[in-house]
Amino acid sequence: MIAILDKYPLAPHVYYMLLEAPLIAAKAQAGQFVIVRAAEEGERIPLTIADYDRTRGTVVLVFQETGKTTRLLASLHQGGTILDLLGPQGNPTEIERFGNTVVIGGGIGVAPIFPLARALREKGNTVTAIVGFRSREYVFWEEKMAQVSNRLVMTTNDGSYGTKGFVTDALKGLLDSGETIDRVFAIGPALMMKAVAEATKEKNIKTIVSLNSLMVCGMGMCGACRVTVEGVTRFTCMDGPDFDAHQVDFDVLIKRLETYTCEECGE
């Protein structure tokens, strides 16, 4: 049983959850995820670690209510427990002194971008963060992101906050400005990551994405999370979750994410 130390909404249907998990907190690094099973009947779902505190032995998850399991998680509260938590899973993001970096987060993808930006800064990189939300009411962690980036660009789809448009619009503006960019990281919906990949490919800038494929075991056994990278089958939980964005077949990923849409709506 994992104690829920804190839980509150960050935005409509988006929640912050602080969990007591000392073993996971001790090992967690940017880019890694946990497998959550909330209750006895529950699914195992992967959630990227949004923050961790090694001293206090805690990890932070940020999730959006989209399906059965995230709705179940949303119904839990401070003082409650979740049944199972496994981690930290996956390979940590490769963090080096790249130079001028851009991190892009869309929606709840902004949460895992935070420890990534922090790690990049600690290594001495210059970090430009581009974070995008649907509209003003969905914005969260603006201050946290400001603390770990040299420059923060906020976008909303409807222009109700920051710059109007998608994160890719802001990225294209940056790419067209002639500024030298050494590496780009993107975490968010598959369509967003695909658009980022297309934009940076033209400029030949190495881009890393964190894939959100469906998972069951999350530990290199079942093969549910397979993705096509460079035309070859790879496994997100063991080979990823980070991959070279220019090698990922996003169309396969996007279709595979729809595998259980019928089952989900029929529940």
Binding site: L23, K27, E41, Q89, C217, M219, M221, C222, T233
Partner: protein, 467 residues
Amino acid sequence: MKPEKKSVPMRQQPADERIRNFDEVPLGYSEEESLSEAFRCLQCVNKPCVNGCPVRVNIPDFIKALREKNFQKAVDIIRETDMLPCVTGRVCPQEEQCQAFCVLNKMGADPISIGRLERFLGDWALAHKKKQEYTADPDTTIGAKNKKVAVVGSGPAGLTCAAELIKKGYAVTVFEGFHKLGGVMVYGIPEFRLPKAIVAKEISVLKDLGVQFMTNVLIGRTLTIEDLFKKGFNAVFIGAGAGLPNFMGIPGEHLNGVYSANEFLTRVNLMKAYKFPEYHTPVKRGERVVVIGGGNVALDSARTAKRLGANHVYLVYRRSEQEMPAREEEIIRAKEEEIEFYFLTNPVKYIGDEKGFVKQAVCIKMQLGEPDASGRRSSHPVQGSEFTIDVDEVIVAIGNTPNPILRITTPGLKTKKRGEIEADENGKTSLPGVFAGGDIVTGAATVITAMGAGKRAATAIDEYLRG
């Protein structure tokens, strides 16, 4: 007295009933049936059957105790070497092991149904289990005191190693990555062949012995092998089992509705997707399902798909029935359940609809050639023999590689080409104090071979810790 030629048959659920439920198929011997079967045993002095057993269960002696109706004694004899009799009595390939060595075979009679007797006794023991039935023998603890062993993985290899070590007086902690104990016995082998409640009860016997269990701890990620030594463990046994599933690398394997057997069975068994939506993990319930492969896992997948409501389940195997590695009795049961076999057939590609869901499997006819490295005849495609099967689900059951996590996260741990951990016959690896056994060393094998490896490693660990 000449023994009956025929062994006592085991009652089982009729095929038309059992394909509509997940309950166990064979129903087990009654006490009366067990006794009748036990009295067929010739009690050979040289015990040939024992040589056929990877863990050397003292078969004639337990049968003798059974005949005397001393069931507790019979169980104790089995548990000297096999702490999971309910499991091995059900899933061991006895026909290739102990029963193949039974002298009755040479007399033109059925061999003793050793597995069924073992199952009867194992089930009897669980039904009559008292709390704290077993305790470690204090005599064996001399010299072993204050030594701790970590066991990685709670499958057959890990559990057997843990049981042997606790009996020798070591403190043992088993680390399991999943939320549930039992490894392949809970995620892989279906309920209708091995009920999960029975696995849990067998494990509870180990808990009574004092074995500690920690779930949701993945060694290699949550803690490393190095961490275990830092935490005071004196030796480590790795029984991490199966890893990533093999795919054929043919077009269309990424389509929705194409599963590895590992994923399909894990969803259904471990996550109880057959009870969806009561349990939240979904699984496709295909109407026309193709299963690729000829082993026990392929048959388990096919029979599971049937129980999930498929109208047609086709089992596609590249060799002929004779070469199938699956157990014969499971092949017979699959046929009774109207699994449709395509022997000498191999898929070449899968075709999907516009949304990315599989709708056709294109297959090709095969012919047999010379024996290959495995001793089985190789198979080759027959040019121009392609044909198409309409499907809405495909399950690929062509094996898996050993689990990769420890290879990736343990410096100095030597592995072979396909990722198997290098270990000698006693499980000794390239790292001091680190032993390994089961599928992680041999690649995919059976429950009992893994148990044999766990047992040999326990002996080697004992020697190592005694210096």
